[in-house]
Symmetry: C2
Subunit: 259 residues, 2 copies
């Protein structure tokens, strides 16, 4: 039984990659077999957990344009044995033009992951999306069971939310009837400011019942961890950021009715 989760929000810098990496690492460290798919040409998820994105071929781009079998793109994390990744790098920008005239262009990722799941029993596949609602993020949402939206506790973050919800509804109608809004997680929350509290109030009102109780605080250690190529639980386990992602993982598992 496998769940595929897209971590998406077209607003930039809201914590998509940080949430993808740390939720994936925490799930893996809780004994779940996890695959993290980096679907951003920036390759931040790939480098953020310590891989060198420029010498990993085949990668997700070659998988999407069917130059490589999905099997062959999977790498195992050296320290966290249940954690695997499909790496990305700048070549992925090419997907846009390569797939433009292909009638199946929006279903490429879905087909690849289906092939992959025939041979691997990943319990969770997390997809880190780029900051746009273009062909890559649409591919992710069509391939997924669930959508997780990180929202920064800042003003602009609220403006963009209706956009991704509209996209979810459109995809649900046209291409993936079972795509579910799994939840919203507030990130970079600064306890000292009214702004964070106001945004939280507004978001909880707008998404009644779908906002995780756990809020990820702004924490310097979370910003430092990727420069060491580590998820936060390996970089500074007892930091506020790490404790928050551990709590979020517990909430995620509860929502799935699993321990």
């Amino acid at each position: 039984m496998s769940r595929i989760i897209s971590i998406a929000n077209q607003k930039g810098g809201v914590g998509k990659t940080t949430t993808s990496i740390n939720l994936a690492a925490c799930l893996a460290a809780s004994g779940k077999k996890v695959l993290l798919a980096d679907l951003d040409p920036q390759g931040n998820a790939t480098s953020g957990i310590g891989f060198n994105k420029d010498d990993l071929s085949p990668n997700i781009y070659e998988m999407l344009i069917q130059k490589a079998a999905p099997e062959d793109t999977i790498r195992r994390h050296p320290f966290i044995k249940n954690l695997h990744i499909i790496p990305s790098n700048i070549e992925l920008v090419g997907a846009h033009n390569d797939l433009h005239d292909d009638p199946r262009k929006y279903f490429k990722l879905k087909h690849s992951l289906q092939k992959l799941l025939a041979n691997h029993n990943f319990e969770y596949i997390l997809i880190d999306c780029p900051p746009s609602l273009g062909i890559l993020t649409v591919n992710a949402m069509i391939a997924s069971d669930d959508l997780l939206i990180p929202i920064q506790s800042e003003y602009y973050a609220m403006e963009g939310v209706s956009l991704i919800i509209k996209t979810l509804q459109k995809i649900r109608k046209k291409a993936n009837t079972s795509l579910n809004l799994f939840g919203v997680v507030l990130t970079m929350y600064d306890m000292r400011t009214n702004l964070s509290r106001q945004v939280e109030e507004e978001i909880r009102k707008h998404f009644t019942g779908r906002v995780f109780k756990t809020v990820i605080p702004r924490s310097i250690r979370l910003g430092e961890a990727p420069s060491h190529g580590m998820p936060i639980i390996l970089y500074d386990l007892r930091s506020a950021g790490s404790q928050a992602y551990i709590k979020l993982t517990e909430e995620v598992l509860e929502r799935y009715g699993r321990k």
Copy 2:
């Protein structure tokens, strides 16, 4: 004599919009006639300085697809008389498909701004770009004299820089020989962390002579200002964020040899 400046970086959330709004406002408040063009479908620059993006037609999308004359898209700021804006909203996402088969698709903005400058004497035109290197940002770089790159003082920010420099070089070779790397500005600098210092050292080494001396500190007031629809000089003039953007404006004017 007019200068057109693109404010771009495909990494999300690095302070492109915050720099566009506040540099535009400070230049206008220094007596320069300024136009801020919002080229992001999120419309953050439009709402960040107090306009309602969903009831401003015609906007930049209609200008790009030539449904509206450039003249007709300009709005004047109610409080800062030298500041004007071409607003944006979600319709701009449509530009991608609308222009896809048009051989002049990458020159639309350049043509519109040239028409506009025939009748208006804007001294500075600032273009706020979305977090990608797609058709919109390419249009901006082809239309521009200068490129200003905000870089967040964080780990991932360094990874993406080579990408936008490659794009600059490609555009300079193929479409805009005079496009100049005007400068790099460090944003969200946190004096308390080593990470910010390390990123600053790395960036100043990498871009010798092109990084502005002024560094924009992380400042809660900068994050609050857009929720009041104001640039920082109207929201909290004596805050650290405001003082930094005033200093940056002085440096920008010095580089242009103007007072």
